[in-house]
């Protein structure tokens, strides 16, 4: 059975009404996932017994009279989330045998609502948004770029209903869109990061993928909230004026960027133009905007990301975590251990990140990047003063560049990384575009998305869903 045949609310309703047991439902999904994983390497770990244990516990609660909002709903989580009882190697030898003795806050919330974790999906080397290269021995990451975020691929192929991932540069949203499903990166601070392995603290935040739009709202509602273990989760932060959408499109003003049409490949430009016309047809007010800082922002994003990653990864020295090399000399021990355990991307970011932070280069690169970050944030805020939502493409080309080198793959993120830098929530649609709101404006995004339910008209009825 494919999970895409149901949405989260329908599945939970059937299980809460005891029309079907969580155990039998999860069993079917796991069998399907095994077949799927044989064909496409999407999972780093399939839960099997552990998932059936969770499902049995859900059945017990349901039989005891509990009504769980996500009863028995199959959930996959990216490998960089901790889940007690499952390995978290994060595609690196650094953490190859690591089994976290705790669960991530977001996973706890979702499983507390009745969701069943059926497996963990592949991520890039150490969870870094990266492309598979012919790698040195440290990395276990072997997946092609379009599967760089296995969770979105699993949601598209029917391996789960809900997918919890991390979104740093925007690859999660791009992968979701390319696979014909929806992706959401909530405002930083809405979902706790406790238990998510971070490489770049400024930009690594949770992200979601689901085949049904409504399921993103369910995921957001179930995983949001203050968590005292992550001091940066928002305590009482909601929109100043709580947004209430009265089904009147003319109340929403949407910003478009016509100048991007020349920069996009024909297929993506065509979809973007169709969306522009569709929004007008539906009755939304539209306004043409210009944002000329994307390329500078993208570069600043990577300077900050490299700098923070080099600092974060330095804690992996083989003493407290992961594999270690044999040596009697401490200096040699560090050198050999990191050679043994770091993959290409981790190695590149560690060394170049340290270089960028050196006395000679700090002002030239890092300080400059922080100023560009400030400009990016200000420009997005100015645009969101003029309209309620922004509609932007997600990528330049519908297919990622095969065999691209590291700089070309970074350039793939020029339409998503600046949005993440500005700390804005973004909802990705199949077909290659995203809608962006002000911080904590997810309700507006979902209201617009509801109105764009005829999006299938634009994106070819999601016909490629499942053809990962």
């Amino acid at each position: 059975m494919k999970a895409t045949e149901l949405n989260a609310l329908k599945a939970a309703e059937a299980i809460n009404n005891q029309e079907v047991s969580a155990t039998s439902f999860v069993e079917e999904i796991i069998d399907y996932c095994k077949e799927l994983d044989n064909k496409k390497k999407i999972f780093s770990h399939l839960a099997d017994e552990k998932a059936l244990e969770q499902a049995a516990a859900v059945d017990q609660k349901v039989q005891g009279g509990f009504n769980l909002p996500l009863a028995g709903v199959p959930l996959v989580i990216a490998d960089n989330y901790a889940f007690k009882g499952m390995p978290a190697a994060i595609a690196s030898r650094t953490l190859q045998n690591y089994h976290p003795p705790f669960s991530a806050a977001a996973v706890e919330k979702l499983t507390g609502a009745g969701a069943v974790v059926i497996g963990k999906t592949i991520v890039g080397d150490m969870g870094l948004d990266t492309v598979a290269e012919k790698d040195k021995e440290g990395s276990l990451f072997k997946a092609p770029l379009y599967l760089a975020k296995g969770g979105a691929a699993a949601a598209a192929a029917g391996g789960c209903i809900l997918s919890l991932e991390s979104d740093s540069s925007g690859i999660t949203r791009q992968t979701a869109s390319r696979n014909g499903v929806f992706g959401l990166r909530p405002t930083p601070g809405r979902v706790s990061r406790f238990g998510l392995n971070l490489c770049c603290g400024s930009f690594d935040y949770p992200g979601f993928a689901a085949a049904h739009l409504g399921d993103l709202a369910v995921l957001l509602q179930a995983s949001t909230g203050y968590d005292e273990r992550d001091v940066m989760t928002a305590a009482n932060r909601i929109q100043r004026d709580k947004f209430v959408y009265d089904n009147n499109p003319s109340r929403l003003k949407i910003g478009f960027f016509p100048s991007y049409l020349d920069f996009l490949d024909a297929e993506v430009a065509d979809t973007y133009e169709k969306m522009h016309l569709l929004c007008r047809k539906i009755g939304f007010k539209t306004v043409d905007l210009k944002l000329g800082i994307l390329q500078e922002s993208l570069r600043a994003f990577y300077v900050i990301s490299y700098a923070e990653t080099s600092s974060t990864l330095s804690r992996f020295d083989g003493i407290r975590f992961g594999s270690a090399a044999e040596s009697d000399d401490l200096e040699e021990y560090y050198f050999k251990t990191r050679r043994l355990t770091f993959g290409s991307e981790a190695c590149r970011r560690s060394i170049i990140g340290t270089y960028l932070l050196s006395d000679e280069n700090y002002g030239r690169y890092y300080k400059k990047a922080l100023k560009v970050l400030n400009n990016t944030r200000r420009l997005f805020a100015e645009m969101l003063d003029k309209c309620d939502l922004l509609l932007m493409p997600l990528y330049k080309s519908a297919s990622p560049i095969a065999g691209a080198d590291f700089i070309q793959t970074y350039e793939e993120n020029c339409l998503t990384a600046p949005v993440n830098m500005a700390g804005l929530p973004s909802l990705a649609f199949p077909g290659g575009f995203q809608v962006i709101a002000e911080p904590f404006g997810e309700e507006k995004l979902l209201a617009l998305a509801e109105n764009l339910s005829i999006v299938e008209e634009v994106t070819g009825s999601n016909s490629e869903k499942g053809e990962v």
């Binding site: 600043a300 560090y334 500005a422 911080p439």
Partner: protein, 94 residues
């Protein structure tokens, strides 16, 4: 690789990753291409801009420290070696 690029050598020695000469040359070449790519950012007009560390306004919601219950047996399972209630780690002081 430019033998005079001391900052690059210093970065390798700071982060402590063993690389072959061939790997050093390849990585130095990548650094050069990366710096070239960053020139556009260096040219960005930022006169009068403040440094900013976060994309959105953030605030730390602090709480009082307090001990939480944990399962020591579970935690010990993660240790490579464990003896008499202590983690065994490589000797770092001779």
């Amino acid at each position: 690789m430019d033998p005079k690029d001391e900052a690059f050598e210093k970065a390798i020695n700071t982060i402590k990753i063993e690389l072959s000469d061939q790997e050093k040359v390849a990585l130095h070449d990548q650094l050069g291409r990366f710096q070239k790519w960053l020139e556009l950012m260096e040219m960005a007009e930022t006169e009068g801009s403040d440094l900013h560390y976060f994309g959105c306004s953030v605030e730390n919601n602090m709480r009082e420290d307090r001990p939480l219950e944990s399962d020591l047996e579970e935690i010990r399972k993660e240790a490579v070696e464990f003896e008499d209630g202590f983690y065994l780690v490589p000797r770092i002081i001779d």
